[in-house]
């Protein structure tokens, strides 16, 4: 038997094998009649097109960098406030869930209506960053060593002193880990805004403009560059973290919106807080419109959407179009999400049974965490065409990878001692799996579900918008063409609302089930 090549050599070898297979498959036009060109063909085309690239890359990098900075300023600032004040955290819970769950493509058009120039792209990039950094900050600050803060307090230090001297430094690894995940999110946000916002420059615009030309090698080249930029932004922060802190933390996407315990407050206060939590997103929506000063005809307040959908002269037609679109979008969202989760679950479980076989796959799955997967939908159009299967596969691919990473990393945390007990009684692999691994994976299955809810809706809407011409995504795209402002706002509001409701449903079921089983929520 050959000696095991070790460590990164094995990774390099796997990468080389993958590239070789890609090259052969591409050169022989084995995928959908040449929809996947050979790697060298893509690189050559990239070289030929290079004249076009700098302005597109500059536009995307500019928007994502500014968005990254702004999103982080808000994320860290809000994180500090939330860590200091449980009331604020409770009050902003609705806003935080909405930011986490909103499908960026749905609000891209309304940002284009209300902001101008690069601002919509920057705003969407910032939204993709805010949540990750905010949760990382809250978690980092609240996990600080309580004994160390006790020392500061014991010497009469204020809460601010404790924050300054202990908690902020303690939170740094968590925040840096957050920035690492946030950076590729900013790139994704910028590209999605380029899809939804028109404009000439930017990799998203370039991708969209090249979609109709039937040149697979160019599309793949753009996809490669977009992936590279996102990957580099991730690697940069990973390097920074390991340089400054000496250690890097696992790449897990936190999907839990931070919560506070409000149990010990009076009923009246709790009701007020709940009402405030629900009202705040709408108040911010209203405030945003008043602030931008865009005329009422174009920008709709919450009340404006209600009028459009229920009271106006076209209400009936609007309702029926919205319902028809929902009837197309929702089933495939659920099917795609369920399929993505199921694949991820089966693969993660079998990674416990056949560790060596799956070991090679985990790095691939980790790399996809930094890829703007949804933004690569045009590439899938080449392979799968514009039918329902495209929507399904886009949805599966954007849900499968993050779910797999969450599950696989969660399962790796199952303590050895828990498995030793059945094993010491001679249990088979299957018995061990049934008794220990499967139940232990439940919290991570819920965490993965929370993560995939908004992604599934985003995947479906992107596919509908760019390719299939069905459902909510298409309704949104059409309404832009018809200047049907009411419908644009309605679709945006409804899709955010649906995402939030699904997310909350998952959280409620999760709490019930895990509490009954005596388990804690997976962070």
């Amino acid at each position: 038997m050959a000696a095991e090549p070790k460590g990164h050599w094995r990774g390099l070898r796997n990468a080389a094998v993958l590239l070789l297979i890609w090259e052969v498959v591409g050169r022989l036009d084995l995928v959908a009649g040449g929809a996947l060109p050979g790697f060298s063909e893509i690189v050559i085309r990239l070289y030929e097109d290079w004249g076009d690239y700098p302005r597109h890359i500059w536009a995307t990098v500019y928007a994502s960098t500014l968005g990254f900075l702004i999103g982080n300023a808000f994320g860290i600032g809000a994180g500090v406030i939330f860590a200091m004040s449980p009331t604020m955290l409770r009050l902003f819970r609705g806003v935080n869930i909405a930011v986490f769950a909103l499908p960026p493509i749905a609000i891209a058009p309304i940002l284009v209506l209300t902001l101008s120039g690069m601002a919509p792209r920057i705003a969407l990039a910032a939204l993709g960053v805010y949540f990750v950094t905010m949760t990382a900050t809250v978690i980092g600050l609240s996990q600080a060593d309580t004994r160390a803060t006790d020392v500061i307090r014991a010497y009469g230090g204020s809460r601010w002193d404790a924050l300054r001297l202990v908690r902020f430094r303690g939170a740094l690894p968590s925040i840096l880990a957050g920035l690492r995940v946030a950076a590729p999110n900013a790139v994704l946000g910028a590209i999605l805004a380029e899809f939804g916002g028109g404009g000439r420059w930017g990799l998203g615009a370039y991708l969209l403009g090249s979609l109709g030309r039937g040149e697979p090698d160019r599309l793949w080249g753009i996809g490669l560059v977009a992936t590279l930029i996102a990957g580099l932004s991730y690697a940069g922060f990973a390097l920074l973290a390991s340089r400054t802190l000496g250690a890097t933390r696992a790449v897990t996407l936190n999907t839990a919106v931070p919560e506070t315990d409000t149990g010990n407050r009076s009923l009246a206060v709790r009701i007020a807080l709940t009402l405030g939590t629900i009202a705040l997103p709408f108040i911010m929506w209203w405030g945003f419109i008043k602030l931008t000063g865009v005329p009422d005809l174009i920008s709709k307040t919450p009340w404006g959407v209600v009028q459009y959908l229920f009271l106006g002269p076209t209400a009936e037609s609007a309702q029926s179009r919205l319902l028809a679109a929902l009837a197309e979008t929702l089933p495939i969202t659920f099917v795609g999400m369920a399929a993505g989760l199921l694949f991820a679950f089966l693969l993660a479980i079998s990674s416990r049974l056949f560790p060596r076989a799956i070991e090679a796959f985990l790095p691939v799955a980790l790399v996809t965490q930094t890829m703007p997967l949804v933004a690569l939908t045009p590439l899938l159009v080449l392979i799968l065409g514009r039918g329902t299967s495209l929507t399904l596969w886009v949805t599966i691919s954007v849900t499968f990878f993050p779910a797999f990473v969450t599950l696989a990393q969660g399962l790796a945390l199952v303590p050895r001692s828990a498995e030793d007990v059945p094993r010491a009684y001679g249990a088979s692999r299957w018995t061990e799996m049934r008794m220990v691994t499967l139940p232990a994976s439940l919290p991570y299955l819920f965490a993965a579900t929370r993560l995939t809810v908004p992604r599934a809706l985003l995947g479906v809407m992107i596919a509908e918008w760019l390719a299939t011409g069905k459902g909510l995504g298409n309704l949104l795209n059409q309404s832009r063409g018809f200047l049907d402002y009411g419908m644009i706002w309605t679709v945006a509001a409804v899709s955010v609302l649906l995402s939030v409701i699904f997310y909350q449903l998952v959280v409620i079921v999760e709490k019930r089930v895990l509490r009954r089983l005596g388990m804690a929520t997976a962070e």
Binding site: P415, V421, P422, A424, G426, M435, G518
Partner: protein, 256 residues
């Protein structure tokens, strides 16, 4: 012919390799525990005492040497339900109630849980957890969780009982209480017991023989017979003769 030894290890060797380092965990470890005896293994951290137990249980494979549990290979003994085991941390499944945790070995061995129901209840009562049958591990104190682990180890009527620092997480007072209870339970079941511990007084109080190990490489340096009559009373903990034996164990443990 005499009955086969409860636990018999002979010439067991084990090395671990990883990250370019090779560690000799066990060198030529031989140990024979007569049926019905109580043996304690004591040694510094990293001396391989837990590895001895894991090899005896069949959880790790020895590089060389043989292991017989009640005259059988370890995994055969495990599948025949001869062994019982309690680990360092209680290693309970957090989503199962006390009763369902105690039933785990029965489930693995494919024994009927309904016919054993009375026995499961007996074991729970034996460790003093009556009334907590349906509690989840998260609702119990550390000491109570350890007692669930003991009940689980005993539920199969094991001929051979393995315990890896079962009271490691407990405070001194509770630990002594549990030592006294464990002696009572062991005497009632008549099983062969192997206890891995780093508490000298615990080892001397419970065991017929204390096996002392040293580290790097992990090896047995001495086996000390403990002369006290059974049942041993809690007052033994303050007996001068008890302290003399403890001092002797400590000397062998720390001496070269």
């Amino acid at each position: 012919m005499s009955a086969p030894d409860g636990i018999a290890l002979s010439g067991v060797c084990k090395t671990f390799s990883g990250r370019g380092k090779v560690v000799e965990a066990l060198r030529d470890v031989s140990l024979s525990c007569p049926a019905g005896s109580f043996t304690a293994i004591i040694g510094p951290s990293g001396c391989g005492k837990s590895t001895v137990m894991r090899i005896a249980l069949g959880l790790e494979r020895a590089d060389a040497g043989t292991v017989r549990i009640a005259g059988q290979a370890s995994l055969d003994a495990a599948r025949a339900g001869v062994t019982g085991v309690a680990f360092q941390d209680a290693a309970l499944l957090p989503w199962r109630s006390v009763k369902r945790n105690v039933e785990v070995p029965l489930e693995v061995l494919g024994r009927s849980r309904s016919t054993a129901a009375a026995h499961v209840q007996d074991m729970i009562e034996l460790v003093g957890l009556k009334g907590y049958e349906n509690a989840l591990p998260g609702e119990l104190s550390g000491g109570m969780r350890q007692r669930v682990a003991i009940a689980r180890a005993l539920v199969t009527h094991p001929q051979v009982l393995f315990m890896d620092e079962p009271f490691g997480a407990l405070d001194q007072i509770l630990r002594r209480q549990m030592n006294v209870e464990l002696q009572r339970i062991w005497a009632e079941t008549g099983s062969t017991a192997l206890l891995v511990t780093h508490g000298i007084d615990e080892a001397v109080f419970l065991a017929d023989r204390v096996v002392v190990m040293h580290a790097v490489p992990g090896r047995i340096v001495d086996v000390i017979e403990v002369p006290f009559d059974r049942p041993r009373q809690p007052s033994l903990f303050s007996d001068p003769e008890f302290h003399r034996v403890c001092d002797h164990v400590a000397e062998v443990l720390h001496g070269g």
